[in-house]
Structure formats: C-alpha cells, structure tokens
C-alpha cells in the first residue's frame, strides 16, 4: 500500500516548478564564480605556461612564509581555590527546573567548570520525564545573551547600587499605601510556593498591592469553565497515557498547548502499535495544520469560529447515543460531513478511556467539552482534576481591571514580573504605564514593557536562581543555580522581600563569614528563605530533594484522583451555539509556533533558526493561506498579503500556501515582531528590524485566538521565506513507509514488505560487520510512529555539537547547518470522498490533476493532508558513498561502524556532499564564529561560553555532519574502561535521543544482542531508507502505522 502513496515536500515539488527543478540539479545554490572572476580585467582565460609558473612560484613561497608563524603564548589559569566538587575537564550534572515558560519541566543541567552548557529533561521529573522541548533546550543561550541588562535601569539610566533603588521604591510604595492607591503586581503564572510566599510577604507589608496573573496566551476559558462546572478554577492534569481515543479541537497539545513535553511523552505511550495494548486513536479538528494535527490518525479541517457548533454537535451525538438530553439546537450534519458523528462513535467505543480537548479560549466551547468529558467518564481516567495543573492560572478579567485601573488612576503603581503586556496584550499598555506613579519591570532585558517603565530591575536567569515549583498540585520541583550571576542582577523574589524587609537576616546564614582560604562561601538570601520554607516539610531531606530535583509527599499521588462534582449544564448555551454556527467570512487563527511559543525568548537565534515543524519556515512568521483562497487572491509562492481586521492592518506580510489549512481560515504565529528584543529578534532603538510581525495586535477583547472576518488582499511586494524543506527532493523514491493498524495486525510487515535487492557492491566487507568482531557497532532506530516532528532534537544537536546559526539569508541559499533535520512529507488523503477508508489516497499525479479540475476551486484535497515526519541525519552507512569520493580521506570508517569526519584533513571539495544519497552533509561556507556578519552570540566572549568544549568548532571550508555524538560514545567507553566494566555495560545516549520527549530515538550497540537497538533492528516494522543503494545504513526507521478507523 505504501508504494501507492505519492509524498511531496512542498507545492513546488508537487507541481514540478521550474525553479525547483533547476535547483534540484545543483547540489549547492551557487556555482563557483569562476567565469566571472576570470573575465575581469587583467585576467584571461588563455593563461600560459609562464603565468602558471609565476602563480605557482608565488603560492609556494607564500605558503612557506605563512607557515613560519610565531606561536602565540597560551596561558592556563587554574582555580585559586578549587571547589571540591569540580574536576576540570569533567562535567557535573545538577537537577533544576526549566524557567523558560510557566510549565516547569524538571531539567538536568550539564555544568563544565562552573558554566552550564546543556539542558536536558530530568528522568525523575513527572512533567518532563527525561525529555525537553526545543524552547527549553535553547533557553540556555538566553543566559549568555550579551544584551541582557548588566545593571538596573532607573529612568533609562544604568545604576549599579541596588540599595539606593530599594530605598526609593520603598518610599514610593509606602506613600502609595498611605494614600490608598493600588499597586498591581502583574506576574506570569506562578506556581512556585516560595515565590508565592514572598509575594504574600510583600503584600502583607504593602496592603495596597494586588497580585494579578497574566498569561500571554490565555487559558482563561478552561479555568473559568472549570470554575463554573466544578467550582475549581484550575486546569486539570490531562492524562494522555490513559487515553485510547483522543479528539482535539484545535489544541496543539504536542507542540504548544499547556504542557507539551509531558503530553508528548504520555501520548507516545499508546502510539506504537502493540499486539496486546493496541494503539490509541487520535482525531484532530483544526484550522491551521498544527504539529499535533500532523500526527493525528484523522484530521479534519474546521473553520475555527464554528468550533462551538462542532463541539455541541459532538455532544449531541454522544448524548443521543447514551440516551441523554441533547442541547436544543438543530443538528448540523453538514459540518465536516459526518466526521463528527464518526469521531463520536470512536469516543463512545472507548468510553472511560477517551479524552476530548479544545484549544479554544471560549468559555462556551470549554463548557461543552467539559460536558462531553463528563459523559465519557473521562474524569476518572484521562482528566485529573484532583491533582490539577498549576502551570497556567492567568485571569483575564483581573488583567483588564488592572489596565482600567491604571487608566483611571485608581491603580497608581505597577510591577511587571515575567510579563510583557506592551508586546503581547491587546490593549495599549504603554500609555497606561506612563500614568502610573511607580512602574517597575523585572525583565532581564529592556523589553517593550521595560522600555516604558521607570525602574527595570533585572531578574536572574533561571540558571542563576534559587526557587521551587509546583507544576501539578502536590508535586514539587526545585531550582538551583548552576552558575554565579553573570551580571549585576537580582532575583525578583529577593527584590520583593527586601522591599517588605522580610529578607532572612544574615544571622540565619550558616555560611556567614565562612571561607575556604580566600574563597568566600556566599549564598543568596533567597536560598535561606527557600530553605526555611521547606525545613518544616523536609528537614534534613532538603539537600536530598535538591539533589533529586523533585519532591512529592505521596509517590502514588498521581494515581489517586476522583470524579469532581459536576454542577454545569449545557442546555443554556443553545442561543450562543445557534449564533456561532451562522458566522461567515475568513477567520484569522493565531497560534504559537513550536519553537518561539509566546515569544518570550524573542532574542534567541537557535529558536529562529529551528524550522517550523510543519511549514519548515525559519526566521519569520507568515500568513498561511489555504490553496483555495490563494487561488482566489492570485497569491503564489513568495507573494505577500495585506491583512486587516478591527482597524489593525499589516501590509506586505509574507504568505505561505499551507496544505492542510482549512478553507476560509488563515493562520499567523504570535511571538514575532519584537521591537525591543535585541540584535537577533529586532530592536528599533539599535536599528535591528523586527523579525516578522506582531500578531498579538490582532487579539480581540475576548482574548480569543480566533478573529473573524479579516480582510485579506494580495500585497504588492514579494518576500522569499527561508524555508528548508524543499531544499531536497524525494524524487519519487521509497523513503517513507506507512500502513495502518488494521493491516499491521494482519501482517506486522505491512507497508514494509518491499525488500531491497542487493545487486553488487564495490566495497570490501567492513571488519565490524564480520562475525566475531570484538568491537562495538553503533546503530540507531527511529520510530516514525513516535516522532511528532517537534524539533527538540534539532536544537539539542546544535547545542551539543556547536552547530552554528547561519541566519535567514544563508538558509535561503540552502546553507543551513543543522546536522539533523526533520523531513516532513505531505500526502493527500481524500477523506472528503471516502472518509475512514484507508485505501483512498490520491496517488498518481494524473489523478491529482483530475481532482484539481473537478474540484471547482474548493481544493478540498488540499485541506485533507496527511503528514509523515522523518528525522534525517547521517546514516553512518557501512558502505558509505561519501568515503570513496573523498580525495584526501577526510571521511573514513571506524571499526565501530561510525562514519568519521575529520575536519583538519578536509579541504572542502564537497564531493562527499554531492555523493551522499541522504543529503545530510553540510558545508561551512563561512567562518561562523568570531564573525560579526553572523551576529548570533558566537562572536562574543559571553555567547561562546555555551560552546561544548569537547567538540571542535569548525572553521570555513570544511564539511561537517552528524557524528553519532562520538564525544559521548568516547566518554562512556572510557568510563567503562576505567572501571573495568564490560562492553555491554557501555551506555550512550546521543543528544537527540536524550531530549526526545516521545522517546522516538533509540541508540545502542548492535553487537550486544540484548540491547534494545538489536531488538528494534529485527522488528518487522524496521526499514532502511534507500536500501536499494546497498549503502547499508546504521539507522533504521520504523514504518509509520496510522490507526485509521473503518467504522
């Protein structure tokens, strides 16, 4: 079956676009400008012998002279007093909590000589479970951002002395308190018990302070709906690991919704087909093609503004089937054909193991979803409202009240803690802030809000801070600093406590005046505060809890939850439902991009460089258009659009024709368009143009991400998006394989029947392939069913291997440097015609053309897209084509099966890149470090602190590629050798594998028959890409199995 599916990476490939075909013929985007150089004045192509000898003689002399350099003196500066726990050259690992968003994943920080160089998920964390998302991975670079504030700012001027600032602010706060004027502390969602306690201490001294939580991307509807239905204003802890049927209405729960790392891990539990446990079904209704949508077994386009009608229709189907009262609205069976009814049947079949979620910020929708989940008994299996999530608790009403208060003068002071409403709220905050008597921001850089505040008191980066977290009720994480403060910053909690005169006195400091020789043993006062908070609970166990990074009173707490009392009712929603169903026009659906999220890490080049999991666009946001609308507007590739709604207008916004985009909707990512982020993300002050446009401007008063009736016209300009996916072509080859669960149950080799015929080889058999080889043989298995395409591995790999950021222009020239990329393949699924019948794919090109003709501009097949994600990295072929063409033996094979790349030998012929069938070799066109043309943190001493000291920083003119993290392999082997352990005990995890939230990547020794990798290589689903070339890759992929339903 798989052989019939036509996969394509982008429209240009599908349509055999002329430019695309031309590009395909050339490995590199630009040929060497030989002709041009030689035709310049003074050069003639007809060179003669004498010229040759002249140049030859000159070159030889020049090279000889150049080699007679004087070696620089290098210094070695040891510690004055070496901390006991530090061994130079050996990494220490500390457990902490990621602070990049409100989720609070437990992390493990790798520290070399006192500087953190890598984050990974903590295996003991109940949130991250060992995985970490791309945003969390990249957050370490924010620590080394030169554009963080080095000192506090008072009215725009730097001031180093905190005590002077403190006394000023204390004076103002006390004055406002006596005047009875309110002060609002506008924070992001905080679930750290100690931080909340310090806020309480602050409030108890200044009784006029009101603490308001504000989330840039609002979850207000879920919170309010739960308040109304269950009397608890909280987001439940969704338990995807218990769900056998998942229906999501526009919630990108694998990419951005609430706690994606946790959800990915839980979701992947049932996504691998097993004979005993079966496989879960995932049905997605959505407008934009989200990353979650690409992983769904069935995905149906939905016009976002009609979501209420969708969910209520589903409610009615389920209620009807269960013989309960339906919502009194006319049944709208035209919505999405009968897909809703079918989805309802799937849910009912899995009653008690089903989960329905919605990403909407409409209370009505969330109430109906709650009601559906109540009918499906989800609250005792897949939704835990007993041990609820505290990750997001923003209150939109309170935020609006605070804003109104600032404007009418009843609120005279405002403190921003982790929030940036000038950038990401829909109201005009800058004018309101200007009216306040006191405005303070704890932002670590001069962001949009900080720029209009009187005081900017930079907070520590989370890797410099002490704190704790309670992401889920009763489950705690701890944050400990892994580096001393880089700049003159202060933890925000410490500021609040010192204003309240509640900082723990130094008499409680056990380290006071303690020193080892000349080394003072200082601790942060907030450490003492934190410790005193925990002493009652943990006592002596506090240090152990810090070491492990987590604490929970009852290890079984997650398994004990009960059905909350449901007091809601959906019958009263009938009028609203009837109204919603009738809306027309084009919807703008705002979304968070998987890397950039809400935009709070707006100056992080790794996130900009990470290709979007679906569109593979880097460095910009763009309006994603459905094919039908693009046709109507005459918008083609590289065109722009003007977009206008409610008086907000952006002109010449880059547009992308996005397969899978629902008709009558367009998508746009928030988090871009910073005006005060920095060199990378845009800074108006310093002359760096914003990256993309700020889509938060479109958010309306109800803080919904869906804005109806937008006006879209074709823009005058053109704009080339830096999109990586179509840099390569599939050429109709059998690269991805897929089947469905029904077929798989009949035959585990379904979709993977085709066996390559190895005709001949010009290579000798490698030693390590022979029997009895006494060495390792490293291999990797990647499960296409588990891979969600989230891109965490791409960022993790870049960090581990010092992969440079090249920037938008270089990506346009196909020169991205990522060692691992995630190929995304589209295929059409004609669900509109024969839904749920797995075999009905549109296959041959002719047939596609036929459908296009008969479609009459609806382009329904363009809305119904299936996607496969395939991580692609060096396959470490046993018979590697790159090795045979290298004229200088810079790439060779190791006895452990690694395809080695030796940079110091490479002379940059690029033959290997040409000859690589997988196109995974990347060429350094420039020296990317220490080069101000690539101003992405690697050109300054602070930014370079993130570099992994065990991996060479490559220079211009050499090839590079995935090394299977050879530095990690060597480290683990050495450890085993030192300890005299056997080869089987060598455990290596590559950087991509370590961070993968869904454990899609397995790495290990194929010579160890008991290893997981050896078992996976024998699995019926495993296949090698381009097996017919007989290059014998060391990576195998597992066939993608979709749980398509035949109901």
């Amino acid at each position: 079956m798989s052989n019939n599916i036509k996969y394509w990476k982008g429209e240009e490939e599908l349509n055999r676009d002329a430019q695309f075909l031309a590009n395909q013929k050339h490995e590199f985007s630009e040929a060497l400008p030989l002709e041009e150089v030689l035709s310049e004045d003074g050069f003639e192509l007809n060179s003669n012998r004498r010229d040759f000898l002249k140049y030859f003689g000159f070159s030889v002399t020049a090279v000889a002279l150049a080699s007679c350099y004087k070696t620089n003196v290098r210094y070695a500066v040891p510690y004055l007093v070496k901390p006991e726990e530090v061994t130079p050259g050996v990494a220490n690992y500390y457990r902490s909590t990621c602070g990049d968003c409100s989720v609070g994943c437990g992390v493990e920080v790798k520290v070399r000589e006192g500087r953190p160089i890598k984050l990974d998920g903590s295996p003991d964390s109940f949130v991250s479970k060992g995985g970490l998302c791309a945003t969390g991975q990249a957050s370490i670079l924010s620590l080394y951002d030169m554009e963080r504030l080095a000192n506090p700012l008072v009215k725009g001027a730097e001031q180093k002395d905190w005590t002077a600032i403190d006394s000023e602010i204390k004076g103002t706060l006390a004055a406002l308190n006596t005047q009875g004027k309110k002060v609002v502390l506008l924070s992001n969602s905080i679930h750290s018990p100690s931080t909340l306690k310090s806020i309480e201490a602050f409030k108890s001294v200044y009784t006029n302070v009101e603490h308001v939580s504000y989330d840039a991307v609002s979850y207000n509807a879920i919170l309010s709906a739960n308040q109304a239905d269950f009397g608890l204003r909280a987001i439940p802890n969704y338990r995807f690991e218990n769900a056998k049927a998942i229906v999501s209405f526009g919630a990108d729960f694998l990419g951005t919704w609430i706690s994606p790392v946790q959800f990915q891990n839980a979701y992947s539990a049932h996504r691998r087909p097993t004979a005993e446990g079966g496989m879960s079904v995932h049905i997605q209704f959505e407008s934009n093609l989200s990353m979650t949508g690409t992983n769904a077994d069935h995905r149906f386009p939905m016009v976002a503004s009609k979501e209420l009608a969708y969910v209520s229709t589903m409610y009615n189907y389920i209620a009807k089937a269960l013989g309960l009262t339906q919502i009194p609205v006319p049944t709208n069976s035209e919505l999405a054909g009968n897909s809703i009814e079918t989805a309802a049947k799937v849910l009912l079949n899995n009653k008690g193991k089903a989960l329905v979620i919605s990403g909407s910020n409409s209370i009505e929708v969330q109430k109906v979803v709650n009601a559906i989940n109540v009918l499906l008994d989800s609250y005792t299996s897949t939704i835990d409202l007993t041990n609820y999530s505290k990750q997001y608790n923003g209150d939109d009403t309170a935020v609006n009240n605070a804003f109104a208060g600032l404007n009418n003068g009843s609120v005279a002071g405002v403190i921003f803690y982790g929030t940036n409403p000038v950038f990401n709220h829909n109201k005009e905050w800058s004018a309101a802030i200007a009216k306040a008597k006191l405005s303070v921001s704890f932002a670590s850089s001069k962001d949009e809000t900080a720029a209009v505040c009187q005081y900017v008191l930079p907070d520590n980066h989370f890797l410099e801070s002490w704190s704790d977290a309670e992401p889920i009720k009763g489950l705690y994480h701890f944050t400990q600093p892994t580096i001393s403060k880089v700049f003159n910053t202060r933890q925000a909690q410490e500021s609040l406590l010192s204003w309240a005169n509640a900082l723990p006195g130094s008499e409680n400091d056990p380290f006071k005046n303690k020193r080892i020789l000349s080394q003072k043993q200082d601790v942060s006062p907030f450490y003492l505060f934190l410790k005193s908070n925990w002493e009652a609970t943990l006592g002596e166990g506090f240090n152990k809890a810090l070491e492990m990074g987590y604490y929970q009173a009852d290890s079984n707490v997650l398994n004990t939850f009960t059905m909350p009392a449901y007091v809601g009712s959906v019958a009263s929603l009938a009028p609203a439902i009837s109204k919603a169903a009738s809306s027309t026009g084009i919807d703008l659906v705002l979304y968070q991009s998987v890397g950039m999220r809400d935009g709070s890490s707006g100056n992080n080049p790794w996130l900009f460089e990470m290709p979007d999991p679906v569109s593979k666009v880097c460095w910009d946001n763009y309006v994603s258009l459905p094919k039908a609308l693009a046709n109507k507007l005459g918008v083609e590739k590289d065109d722009t659009v003007n977009i206008e709604v409610n008086g907000v207008k952006y002109e010449n916004v880059p547009a992308l024709i996005q397969p899978g985009q629902a008709n009558n909707t367009v998508g746009l990512a928030v988090g871009f368009g910073h005006t005060h982020a920095g060199k990378v993300g845009g800074s108006i002050e310093n002359g760096f143009a914003p990256v993309g446009i700020n889509a938060y401007r479109f958010v309306n008063a109800s803080r919904s991400n869906v804005i109806s009736n937008v006006q879209i016209t074709k823009g005058e300009d053109t704009y080339v998006l830096a999109q990586t996916q179509t840099h390569h072509s599939i050429e109709g080859r059998d690269i991805v394989r897929e089947s469905n669960f029904t077929e798989w149950k009949k035959n585990p080799k379904a979709g993977n029947e085709k066996a390559a015929t190895h005709i001949y080889t010009i290579w000798e058999k490698q030693d390590y392939l022979k029997d009895g080889s006494p060495n390792h043989r490293w291999g990797m298995a990647i499960d296409l069913n588990a891979c969600t395409g989230c891109g965490a591995c791409v960022v993790a790999c870049s960090i581990e291997n010092n992969v440079p950021v090249v920037g938008r222009d270089e990506i346009r020239l196909r020169r991205e440097m990522h060692w691992i990329r995630i190929d995304r393949y589209y295929s059409f699924s004609n669900t509109q015609k024969e839904k749920f019948e797995g075999a009905s794919y549109i296959t041959r090109e002719k047939q596609i053309a036929e459908v296009d003709d008969t479609d009459k501009g609806e382009f329904a097949h363009w809305e119904n897209i299936q996607v496969v994600h395939q991580p692609m990295l060096c396959q470490h072929c046993a018979q590697a084509p790159c090795e045979t063409v290298c004229p200088v033996l810079a790439t060779s094979h190791s006895s452990e099966g690694l395809n080695q790349m030796t940079y110091n030998r490479c002379i940059g012929t690029k033959y290997c890149g040409n000859n690589c069938p997988y196109k995974v070799r990347r060429f350094n066109w420039f020296r990317y470090n220490d080069n101000d043309a690539f101003d992405f943190h690697f050109n300054n001493p602070l930014g370079k602190m993130v570099i992994n000291p065990d991996v060479t920083v490559r220079t211009r003119g050499v090839m590079e590629k995935c090394s299977f993290c050879v530095q990690r392999i060597q480290e683990s082997k050495l450890k085993a050798k030192r300890e005299g352990k056997s080869m089987k005990e060598v455990e290596v995890k590559t950087a991509c594998q370590r961070t993968c939230p869904s454990n899609a990547i397995v790495f290990g020794d194929l010579h160890n028959p008991e290893s997981e990798i050896s078992k996976l290589f024998k699995n019926e689903r495993s296949f090698s890409v381009l097996d017919e070339l007989n290059v014998q890759p060391s990576i195998k992929y597992m066939t993608k199995i979709r749980n398509t339903q035949n109901i």
């Binding site: 080699s67 070696t71 070695a76 050259g89 060779s892 006895s895 530095q967």
Partner: protein, 437 residues
C-alpha cells in the same frame, strides 16, 4: 671578706649547676643551626622579622642566658613561676603560647642562641627572582632567522634582475652606438660570474645542473625543516610566573605527581593544581632560614595571589583581592585533537614520564615530546594494553587468544620486539574519530 666568700660560693654553686656546660666546649653555632632546623623554630620565628613569635636576632642582648634557657625549655612553667618579662612577652604576642622544648638541654639551647648570634646578617634583598612578564612564554623562535634569510634571498634576486636589466640596456646602447665588441662580450648575464667552461654550456643543461646541485638539497632541507620544526614546540620551556621546581618537589622531595595533578585519573586534564593544594604545605613551609628570615620570594607569590597575610590575625589572614596565577601553557595540542589523561594513565597504565620525560629532573619544565600526530600513532602501534585484566577488553582478548591458538591472523599480535601484545591500533586506536571530533 664576707663579700668575697659569698662570691666564691656563688661561683662555685653556679659552676656546680652548670658544670656539664662548662665541661663541654663553648656553645657551637653549627650544632645550634641543626637544632634550629630540627625543632622547626623557623615555622614561628625568623631572625630579622616578627612572625608568630618575635624576631630572634640580638635576643642574647635582650635576655640573659638563664632567662632564655628557662623560657625556651618550658615557657609555661616559667610564666607560671611569675617572671614579669615572660608574662609581658606572652601578652605582647596575643597569648600565643610557644611550644615546650624540654627535650633540649640547656647546653643545646645555648647552641641555638650561639647560632642566632653568629648567623650572617641579611644581604640586600634579592630582586632577581623570575618576574612575570608578558613575553615570558614567547618561544625563541628560530623561524624568524629563516624569514630573514628568505628576505635576503629575495633581495638578492631583485638585485640580479636589476643588474641584468642594466646590462641589457647597456648592450642595447652599445649596439646602437655600434660598439659591437662590447655588445658581444657579455651575451649571457651569468657568464661573468662563472668559469669560462661552465659559462659556455648549453643554458638548459646548466639550469638542470644547478637545480640538481642546489635546488634538491635545499628542498630536502626545507622539507625536513617543515616537518620537524614548524609548529613543533619540543623543548619549549617558558619562564613561569612562579619558579616552581619539579626537580625539588618531584625529584628530591619525592612528592607523588598525583598529589598536585590530582585529576589525572578521572579527567582529560591532569590540571595545574589550585593554590589551596600549594597551601597545604606552604602555609608552614616558608623557607625563611634560606632567605635570611624572609619568606621565600616564590612562596610569597602564592601568598600574594591568595591575598594571604601570614602575620594576619587568626581568621583574617585572607584578604578580598586574590589574583589568579596565569601559568604559561607548555603543552598546546590543537583544538581539533582530543586527548584524555585518564585514558592513558588509568586504562593505559602509562607513567607520566613516558610522555613528559624525566620531569623529576627538570628545574624548569619543558615540552619533552614533539606532540606530533606521528608520535601519537607510533605509540598506539607499539604499546601493549593490559587487555587481560580489564573486563572491557574481554572480547578483544579472547579473540586474540583464539587467533593465536588457531594461528589465524596471528602475526599482528607480534610486536617489533617479538613480544605478543594487543595494541591500541588493533582496537581502532588509529581511527580519526578517536581523537578528532
């Protein structure tokens, strides 16, 4: 008379008490010096400087011999006996009691006093200790010389070309003037430099001849120079900010290398010790006797770096302005080469000297080996690993045993010396990505 009697009695009784002393020779300064060192007087006292205890020079003028004997042998008892001077001294030094030396006989005490009396006065303070200097580590780079030579050669060629141009112009001028004789005289510019026979040779043959005689040896020399000298820092022995002597510490005092280079068994870096390691000994060992009561100038540098005041009040000896020491790095592997000490020391069981040479004999450390890749590879080819006693190599070892038993591919296990061994090379130790990644 009574007076005289009393005197005689007193002298007699004094003689009775001190007979043993008087029975011996006069106090011996050499003996005193030995005792001074053996009893570690120097750890609290200096001759010319107040340390934990007072400066000792001239003590015989300040105190009587009797007083000194009592004080030194048991100052506690002496103080308790109520001697006002003794108690005053005790208060003056903040109640820091001196050790009790009852093992010393009064005669020995007087020997020590004699040593103090006769010890030479300090000469002018030495200022010639090695000074940290920004150029300290620059190599004496012989390549500069070669650059000059090459420049000379270039200038010589330029001169020759100019001379030739001049001659040609002269000849043209001569031809125009009809001076056929002189125009013919030097038809080839080099003829006047060469013997007539050579000058008349066919130019091509001459060129080949010249190349063979001069060019090839020069090229050979250049090649050798290139591979053995350029960028090779063997013998590099820069002046260090502290003149630390491995000869003294590792050679004479026989300190274990791992005492200071403590990470060598667990890390890729053997690591230069932090100053707290130095202070384990040098808080006490100050070599004041060697430097006439002053602390050794090199040890002072350790104190300066830590901002340590050896005379500071207890608990406040350390100031707040420590300055790290910038040692000059001697062994500089390029960034693209990975080397791990623990691998070689623990797994390979190599001695430090295998690569670093007779370090225990080096007053100033120098780079002993070339650190060129060929040097690494040679060792990886020829050095046997202890495969039998490391579980990791079990498969490799049993394969070797099997091969040797069955005589399959067994020649590889015989080293050049005929001994059977498993080398790193057999386990992939020559592969690029074992060191380059």
């Amino acid at each position: 008379m009574n007076k005289n009697r009393f005197k005689i009695w007193a002298i007699a009784s004094l003689m009775a008490i001190t007979t043993p002393t008087f029975a011996q020779d006069a106090p011996n300064a050499d003996n005193g010096k030995k005792l001074y060192e053996a009893n570690n007087c120097g750890s609290c006292h200096a001759l010319d400087k107040k340390m934990v205890g007072p400066a000792l020079r001239g003590v015989h003028e300040r105190r009587s011999e009797e007083w000194l004997i009592q004080w030194i042998r048991n100052n506690k008892k002496f103080r308790e006996s109520g001697d006002p001077d003794a108690n005053k001294l005790y208060q003056e030094y903040g109640g820091a009691a001196m050790n009790i030396f009852e093992n010393l006989t009064p005669a020995q005490v007087l020997d020590i006093v004699e040593y103090i009396k006769t010890a030479p006065a300090p000469s002018a303070p030495k200022t010639t200790g090695p000074v940290v200097d920004s150029n300290a580590g620059d190599q004496d780079d012989s390549s500069t010389k070669y650059i000059l030579l090459i420049l000379v050669a270039v200038f010589a060629i330029v001169l020759m070309v100019l001379a030739r141009v001049k001659n040609t112009l002269k000849r043209i001028a001569a031809e125009r003037d009809g001076d056929v004789e002189s125009s013919k005289k030097h038809d080839r510019w080099y003829q006047k430099f060469l013997p007539e026979k050579l000058g008349k040779m066919n130019p091509t043959v001459l060129a080949i001849f010249t190349t063979l005689i001069i060019g090839l040896p020069a090229a050979w020399y250049g090649y050798k120079f290139g591979i053995t000298e350029v960028g090779v820092q063997k013998g590099y022995a820069p002046t260090q900010p502290i003149a630390f002597s491995h000869k003294l510490h590792a050679g004479e005092l026989k300190l274990d290398c791992k005492y200071c280079h403590s990470t060598v068994e667990e890390s890729k870096s053997a690591s230069i010790p932090a100053l707290n390691t130095c202070m384990n000994c040098h808080k006490g060992v100050q070599l004041t006797d060697k430097y006439h009561g002053e602390i050794s100038p090199e040890i002072k540098k350790i104190y300066a770096a830590l901002d340590y005041d050896p005379e500071g009040m207890p608990g406040k000896e350390f100031g707040n302005n420590p300055k790290p020491i910038r040692w000059v790095r001697i062994h500089n592997l390029p960034d693209h080469a990975y080397f791990n000490h623990s691998q070689h020391v623990v797994v390979g069981k190599l001695q430090c000297q295998s690569c670093h040479g007779p370090i225990e004999k080096m007053e100033v450390v120098q780079q002993w080996s070339t650190l060129q890749m060929g040097w690494c590879i040679d060792c990886h080819r020829n050095t046997g690993i202890d495969a039998a006693n490391n579980n990791y190599y079990a498969a490799l070892h049993s394969k070797a045993q099997k091969d040797l038993k069955e005589k399959q591919n067994h020649s590889q296990y015989f080293g050049p010396d005929g001994k059977v061994k498993i080398t790193p090379a057999m386990n992939g130790g020559l592969e690029c990505a074992k060191c380059h990644y």
